[in-house]
């Protein structure tokens, strides 16, 4: 299979072409304000290379576009929030824990209806369908075009959310509906927040995916489009339109997955050194370890599947203090090619130190001769200390672990580090994120409470649900692998209640890929 991977980052848009597991071509272009023309530039450069012509099976894009919209409060829609579960949870309505500016911008109307479920599947109250009809008419009359529906314990029983959607589709068929159980986890406020964030991005998702498709078509490529998700797996473009929140934070994940692919290692530490920061994470079975906790997006608490990453202020553009020899956390950022000494600037950066030390050969090395030897040594030692400390913080075992160094600033990573068994460098490591996008797999997840089942049976039941979801999303059933199994017995619940969360992933099924085009 020939796949194109694209990473649309803050500074650069990277594109790679993979044939099977092999990288055929890689290119970096500046990211443009409209995003699309940067992608088009990269694709044109790629297609200009004879080796990169010919048919392509899929294009996979990793983008921070949607999370940026939330953080910058741009392109957001007004949404209606429907909470089902009254009279329970009435005192903490939707948006109650949101930053005020964001809530004011996107809050259309809130409806609180009777319904929802207990943990054991019994209804809290019968679903108030009459109230739901009234709400739907009001939504239509107000002209709201996007709705988020959340119901208590919907990951266990989505019935009320589905019934609400059906009524909305009947009364106001043009309204986009996000159901919280599609996004996930137990934790009503956080799941509802995810649904609300998703609903307010609906228009942007439609426009962005259309723009991506246009850029691909204009570059003469006829292949289905996929977007990468936070966990390093892909979704079909149609799914991305329905669930833009699933692409939040996919960039860092892609670079870790790319590092795994390029190095052939499934279990290792990864450091991605960019211009401003280094992201440190851990690969387990080829996927980044996930953060277990609440993640804030633009000030909103959610439980998204995010990689567990430590970001430190160390990059190629980091300032170096000539007195203390401390590196970072300030950085010249995208002005590296103007401000760094090797490029004729006056700011001493980590790049200048690396050039002076002979680790890197860019710019004008003669401009670094004035840097004292002991300053070079001390600065490199400081970078080493930062890496050693923080890599150790992210490790889960005391034993030495291999470290894959990727990103444009990987030259700052020494060959030998305490706690690291070996430093692995890979060709195309500076485009690891685009490679990660290209090789992304299809996943499925289940998070449910099981009762009166043995632990093994409960996990087997959860696996079945996750596998079904993965296949529906386009995975080849024969290639499915279990990525993560976590079980949590629940205190104070009868019947040996066990909460099981599992995730599986498999290769993209070529037949599904083709079907998506049509």
């Amino acid at each position: 299979m020939r796949r194109i991977g694209i990473d649309v980052g803050g500074t650069n848009t990277d594109a790679v072409l993979l044939d099977g597991d092999r990288v055929i071509f890689a290119v970096k272009r500046p990211t443009t304000l409209d995003v699309t023309s940067g992608i088009l530039d990269a694709l044109k450069a790629l297609r200009a290379d004879p080796a990169a012509r010919g048919p392509v099976d899929s294009v996979v894009i990793g983008t921070t576009h949607f999370i940026n919209a939330v953080v910058q409060r741009r392109h957001l829609m007004k949404v209606a929030a429907i909470r089902i579960g009254m009279p329970v949870s009435a005192s903490l309505p939707p948006f109650c824990d949101w930053p005020k500016d964001l809530a004011e911008r996107v809050h259309g109307e809130t409806f609180m209806l009777e319904g929802g479920h207990d943990y054991d599947g019994r209804p809290i109250m019968p679903f108030d369908t009459a109230g739901m009809r009234t709400a739907a008419r009001r939504i239509r009359d107000l002209g709201l075009r996007s709705v988020a529906v959340s119901s208590i314990f919907s990951p266990l029983d989505p019935g009320c959310e589905v019934a609400a959607r059906d009524i909305l589709q009947e009364i106001c068929p043009d309204v986009a509906v996000t159901m919280s159980h599609d996004l996930g986890r137990i934790g009503l406020l956080e799941r509802e927040n995810a649904a609300l964030l998703n609903a307010m991005l609906h228009d942007l998702a439609v426009e962005t995916v259309a723009a991506f498709r246009k850029a691909i078509a204009e570059s003469g490529i006829d292949a289905p489009l996929f977007l990468t998700q936070n966990d390093g797996t892909v979704m079909q473009a149609e799914t991305a339109i329905a669930f833009p929140v699933m692409s939040f934070a996919s960039g860092a994940t892609n670079s870790m997955r790319g590092a795994a692919h390029l190095s052939g290692r499934e279990d290792a530490m990864v450091v991605d050194v960019g211009g401003t920061t280094s992201d440190i994470g851990q690969l387990r079975h080829g996927f980044p370890r996930e953060a277990n906790a609440v993640v804030e997006v633009g000030g909103v608490r959610t439980l998204f599947r995010m990689p567990d990453l430590l970001s430190i202020g160390l990059g190629g553009g980091s300032h170096v203090d000539a007195v203390s020899a401390k590196v970072g956390p300030l950085s010249v950022g995208y002005r590296l090619t103007e401000d760094a000494m090797v490029f004729g600037g006056t700011q001493l950066t980590a790049t200048d130190i690396a050039v002076a030390a002979g680790l890197l050969d860019i710019g004008d090395r003669s401009r670094t001769t004035s840097i004292p030897k002991d300053l070079i040594a001390a600065a490199l030692a400081d970078a080493r200390r930062l890496l050693e400390e923080n890599i150790d913080r992210m490790k889960t075992e005391a034993a030495d672990a291999p470290l894959i160094a990727v990103g444009g600033g990987a030259f700052l990573v020494p060959e030998q580090l305490a706690g690291v068994s070996e430093t692995i460098r890979v060709p195309f490591g500076d485009c690891a994120n685009a490679v990660g996008a290209a090789i992304a797999r299809v996943s499925g997840e289940a998070d449910q409470v099981f009762r009166d089942l043995s632990r093994d049976d409960a996990i087997a039941a959860a696996l079945q649900i996750a596998e079904r979801k993965a296949v529906t999303a386009g995975a080849d059933p024969a290639s499915l692998k279990t990525i993560e199994v976590e079980d949590m017995p629940i205190a104070y619940l009868p019947g040996n209640s066990l909460r099981v969360r599992v995730r599986v992933a498999g290769a993209l099924d070529r037949t599904v890929a083709k079907r998506e085009v049509a």
């Binding site: 329970v88 949870s89 903490l92 009503l188 277990n292 949590m488 619940l493």
Partner: protein, 369 residues
């Protein structure tokens, strides 16, 4: 009724209380976050809560003892609602035919640390600066009032669907725990409860005093240290006379449920001064015993608190995970819990450990700590 001086609890105090109560939760009792959200809303609507000293209660005052009972996981879906706990208090008043002077929490630790304030905001009566545990414990009989042999009934339980239950009489605190737990499960494994009412005299004799201000003080120290980027744990230990047990990284987590409790253990591998050593912690909802090289170095009812090393915020037994950087500290248990009768209710044997209680703060305690 005497006109006792009251202090208004500010919203800042409540923000600190949420952090401090989570630390005093010693790993259990659920996060106070949802209670905090409720109180932020109540304060925004103009409600205010007054704090009164337990010593200012008249002997014949009635004091409501409240708690939210159930599984923290259910609480993440069925969100805390301040009106529910207020209703449980009203049920006691209707049943007993009296008015409460004030309300207090059964446990200051964890999510219940905010329940008394939530009820008080609705009822317009003050919160007593006291509780019955000084921390969090998993069962209703693990309280100072049970240790004191005070009457365990009646107990009201409320579910917002309109289910109201009163356990009017039981032969013992253990039976109260069993009977009310059954009702709670029927209600969806979460219920707002108002325990046996206490007189002012009983609160003065058997309440654990000034724990609300302790939680506010502890949380305030941690928040201030976070603001100033200083060491929150050093500040906490200096203020509370606590002891640092261990600093390290969580390298193993094992959980299981038995008889409805979350039991298990974690292993912390030492870093910095503790490098090369390992601390194991056993838990039953809360942290119960800390072991070093097979020897119990700290045990309940002393408070064993696992804190994020950098932020000083508490780490719960339901959320602790591999790789977390933690510092384990011990805080001294209230005297009533370490009395011979207290240890029958909340000593290591009450949790199934064949250990004689030895406080970390006892000078006979091992030098390895």
């Amino acid at each position: 009724m005497s006109a006792a001086p009251l202090t208004e609890i500010t919203l800042e105090d409540i923000e600190s209380l949420a952090v401090g109560a989570w630390i005093l939760g010693t790993g259990g009792g659920g996060s106070p976050y949802l209670g905090l959200l409720n109180l932020r809303q109540l304060y925004a609507q103009g409600h205010r809560v007054q704090l009164m000293s337990p010593l200012d209660l008249d002997d014949d005052d009635h004091v409501a003892v409240v708690s939210n009972m159930g599984a923290p996981l259910v609480g993440q879906e069925r969100l805390a609602d301040s009106r529910n706990i207020a209703r449980a208090v009203e049920m006691q008043q209707e049943f007993g035919g009296f008015k409460f002077r004030a309300v207090m929490s059964v446990e200051i630790g964890g999510g219940n640390g905010t329940q008394a304030l939530m009820a008080a905001a609705h009822l317009g009566i003050p919160v007593v600066d006291a509780d019955c545990m000084g921390r969090a414990f998993p069962e209703a009989q693990m309280t100072s009032v049970a240790i004191g042999g005070l009457q365990p009934y009646p107990c009201t339980l409320y579910d917002p669907r309109g289910i109201e239950a009163i356990v009017t009489k039981v032969p013992s605190w253990k039976w109260m725990e069993r009977a009310s737990r059954k009702i709670c499960v029927e209600m969806g494994s979460i219920a707002s409860t108002c325990k046996a009412p206490r007189t002012g005299r009983e609160v003065k004799d058997w309440g654990i005093h000034f724990t609300t201000t302790a939680a506010i003080r502890i949380g305030g120290l941690v928040r201030e240290a976070n603001r100033l980027h200083t060491d929150p744990i050093a500040a906490l230990l200096a203020s509370e006379g606590g002891k640092r047990l261990f600093t390290g990284k969580v390298v193993d987590v094992a959980r299981r449920t038995t008889e409805g409790f979350l039991r298990g253990s974690i292993a912390v591998e030492g870093i910095d001064a503790d490098r090369g050593s390992r601390l194991d912690l056993s838990f039953q909802n809360e942290w119960i015993v800390a072991w070093r090289e097979g020897e119990a170095v700290a045990m309940c009812p002393d408070l064993i608190c696992v804190l994020e090393t950098l932020s000083g915020h508490a780490v719960g037994t339901e959320t602790v995970r591999y790789g977390q950087r933690v510092t384990v500290v011990a805080l001294k248990a209230p005297a009533v819990l370490t009395s011979p009768r207290g240890l029958e209710f909340v000593g290591p044997r009450a949790f199934g450990y064949d250990l004689d209680f030895l406080s970390v703060f006892d000078e006979r305690a091992g030098a390895g700590v």
